[in-house]
Amino acid sequence: MTAGAFPRTTTRRARTGTSSRPVVRPLLIFVLAVIIAFFAVIYSRISLDRTAFEIQLLDRQIATQEQLHWDLRVEHARLQAPDRITKRAVELGLVYPDDRQTIELTGVEAVVGGPEDRWLDLRALLLEQS
């Protein structure tokens, strides 16, 4: 054993708390936030696209229904055409009378104006009620 042995001096520096530890949590939060934001943007974009497609679909449905509406109105007008009705009536046995017979009903006023005029009172009544 050698005497006078020098006491061993440590050159290690004491580790002082967190100063040397890498800052991970904020980084993680930031990365997470970026990822969330990224997916949120993607999701919102997809949602927007989906909504746009739905709107487009609804627009198409509206156009189709409008087309149907006008097709039906045209068909309605065609069915009302006097020429068509007369031809059909003749096919079914209509014969024009040689002598027109007029039957007068006392107490019945003459019908004046078109069907619209005849419904004016009813329309006014309904408007009052609404």
């Binding site: 045209v74 027109r100 019908v111």
Partner: protein, 579 residues
Amino acid sequence: MSRTSFRFGDLRVVALGLVFVLAWAGIGYRLFQVQGADAAELAQRGFDQRVRHETIDAKRGTIYDRDGVELAVTIYGKSLIADPSLIEDPTQAASLLAPIIGADYIDLARRFDSDGRFTYVARGLENDVVSQVAAAIEEADLVGFSFEEAPLRIYPSGSLAAPVIGLTHADDGRGIEGIEAVMDTELSGRPGKRVVERDQAGRAIPQAEYLLESSTPGSDVVLTIDREIQYTAERALQEAIDFTGALGGSVVVMDPETGEILAMVSLPGFNGMDRSSLDPSAIRNRAIADVYEPGSTLKVVAVAAALEEGVVRPDTPFDTPPEIDIVGETYSDHGNHPSVMTVTDIVAQSSNVGTIKIQRQLGDETHYRYLDAFGLGRPSSIDFRGEATGRLDHVSDWCGPACGASAAIGYGIGATTLQMAAVYATIANDGEWVEPHVVSEIVSPDGESIVSEPRQRRVISVDTAQTIRSMLRGVVTDGTGFRADIEDFPVGGKTGTSDKFDVETGEYSETETIAWFIGIAPIDDPSLVAAVVLDTPTGMLPDETELKFGGASAAPVFADIVESALHQLGISPVHQDDE
């Protein structure tokens, strides 16, 4: 040894490096070109391929009759288009499609056999036809055909009132005839604009569509036409044309109080839905475009003027020899009549001699003033494009007494059926002329309505109008217009027959005539005026009356139309025994 291998390896590295450098240089150069030098041009090309400025069609307004039934309406049909360069067998395709779309096979085959890349096969096909065509194309596995959406103008009532409603152009949809043309600005609306991004297949990319300007739909136009009366008038006139062999004819039915035209017929007509067989001459609306000498129907103007001016009274007698000489021109009467007649008799018997005598007492200046006031020589209405003005020379240009005499009996003056209907409507409306019109109102897309306000002016007094009406009643009960009589309604009117003037020879025809009847119903409380014109009727009735006369051919048409129209309007019948 090691030095040699080192050199060889060094060279390979250098070569590889060079390749890399060159490759990167190439990429860099291209990058510089794309992103730098040509960037603007390439960006524009991409933009042009993807982004399109499109016009949004404005929906054309609808034309309605007075009861709100559609007479002309726009729907969206489809146009069949073809790329002839892709069609493998043009004759097979033509033979398959021609019968479905109603096209000419040879014309279609020729178009399919061309070198072009685009041709319209059929425009504005209705949905049921589209289904048939699509099925045929699929079944035969034809290539080179596709559909595109296109506005289609539909006339649901076919030929009914077609010359009044008119037509639109097949290409741009603009009105070219009738109300379609006159009201084109109102019906057309205003097209919109949008920017659309489309993918390679031509589909619109969602969210990439920008509206620059919305389209404004056209206004709707409501006509005064009554479909039932219109149909009755068309049927009655067609029967008369068939029976008399006339070249054509026209009818105007008016409400004298409002000036509303309830029916306007021009035959031969056309069907706006069948353009393949469209005869250009049939598009003309004869009721407003054809000018004829009105013959005896114009006598009422001279008589009304003379009564109004106090020159004559209904019972004023006139010597009425069979003929009269006016400065070398001889005017005669048809048939026998008494040698002395009152003004009322002169109208009832339609005496040329008597009317000329009345006109001579009236004077040319005054006569002209009344002809002008009744609306002759100028268009009657603003609702018609191409309405003829007729012919009424200024009195200063008249040739003297002979011109006055001719004018009194309806010669030397030209009038349309509409103008003459308006003359009689003035008499029916107690002497007040009301502008005839066929447009009742214009309704804008936001519901605002512009109602027609026809012009009005007084021409003769109420008393004179009533006196003329009683004379016109006499024409039907005791005169030349007896075939216009109706059992349940007292009507009045005037017959007219004018010889046709041959422009080429400069002479009047001895056989060809224009037959007129214009009447008022009921005569004591007028609801309707109807004017009927037949162009060159021929043949004979069983009693050997020639059909070339208005009283024989046109008067029965009036009776047919008016009887039905009065029932249609709900006018109560009057027992004529009680009159």
